[in-house]
C-alpha cells in the first residue's frame, strides 16, 4: 500500500522554523482520522523529533536542504491508521547506528529516537536507493498510546 501515491506529501526546507507547521498538519490530520488527542499529540511529537534529527544530524544544521514528509492514510483497510515516511538527501549512515542514549544515564540529548520508537507502532530507518535516508513509521488507530509497551526493535 505504500507503493501507492501518498495522500499528503510535504516538502520543506530544513529550517527549524517550519517544525511548528509540520506538527500542526499532523495534529489536524490525525484528529480528523479519529486518533484521540493524546495519540495525535504523540504522533506529532514523533514527526517533530524525526525532522529535528534530519536537521541536526543529517544536514548538520544547514537550513536550506530538502526534507520530505509522505503520509498515507490507511482508512479503508483492515488496520486503519497512518504511515509516514520522512526522507532526506543527507549523507547515508548505517541504520543500526541510529539509537538513543541509555535512558538511565541522564544527560542532555539522546531522547529523540527513543521517543519515536515509543510512540509509533513500527519504526524502520533505511538508506534510500539513490542518496539520503528514509524513516518509515506507522501507527494504527487501534493501538492506543502505547507508552507502556516495550520498544520495537530496529527494522
Amino acid at each position: 500500500m505504500t507503493s501507492e501515491r501518498p495522500s499528503v506529501e510535504i516538502k520543506l526546507v530544513s529550517d527549524p522554523m517550519f517544525l511548528a507547521g509540520a506538527r500542526e498538519l499532523i495534529l489536524g490530520l490525525t484528529h480528523r482520522l479519529g486518533f484521540k488527542q493524546d495519540a495525535s499529540g504523540q504522533i506529532a511529537l514523533a514527526v517533530d523529533e524525526a525532522l529535528a534529527n534530519v536537521i541536526n544530524h543529517g544536514y548538520e544544521r544547514q537550513c536550506d536542504q530538502p526534507i520530505w514528509i509522505k503520509i498515507w492514510t490507511t482508512a479503508d483497510e483492515d488496520e486503519p491508521g497512518l504511515r509516514i515516511h520522512i526522507e532526506d538527501e543527507a549523507k547515508q549512515i548505517d541504520p543500526d547506528s541510529i539509537c538513543g542514549r541509555d535512558l538511565d544515564d541522564v544527560k542532555p540529548g539522546g531522547l529523540g529516537v527513543h521517543i519515536i520508537r515509543q510512540v509509533m507502532d513500527t519504526v524502520v530507518y533505511e538508506k534510500k536507493e539513490s542518496c539520503g535516508m528514509r524513516l518509515k513509521m506507522s501507527k494504527r488507530l487501534a493501538s492506543d498510546t502505547n507508552a507502556d509497551q516495550p520498544e520495537h526493535s530496529h527494522g
Binding site: P16, M17, L45, D48, N56, L103, P108, L111, G112, I115
Partner: protein
Amino acid sequence: MADQADLEITWDSREGATILRPMGDVDLSRSPSLRNDIRKVFENPPEKVIVELSAVSYMDSSGVATLVEAMQLSRKSNAKLVLCCMTERVHSIFEIARLDQVFTISPDVDAALAE
C-alpha cells in the same frame, strides 16, 4: 525579521528563588532562547530556580535536553531546580524519557517554593 525566533521568557524573583516563565512552544527553533536564559540565571546562581511551564503547550526533546542541562548546572552550583505547572502534554514527554522521577516537578509555584 518576521520570524519570531525568540521564545518569550519572563523572569521573576520570590523568596530567594528565580522563577523563569517561558511562553510558547519549546521546540528545536525555540529551545536556544530557553538555554540562553537558563545559562544567564546560573551566572549568579540563586538558591532555587523554578521553571514555570504553564504557558508551554508543547515541548520536544530539545526542550527537555535544555532542562537536563539546567539540572546539571544547578547541581554544579548547589542550587535547587524545580519544574512546575506542567501541562499534561509536556508531562508525557518527561514520562516517555523516564525523567519524571529525575526532576523535581511541582504542581504549582507555591509548592515549588516549598520544595
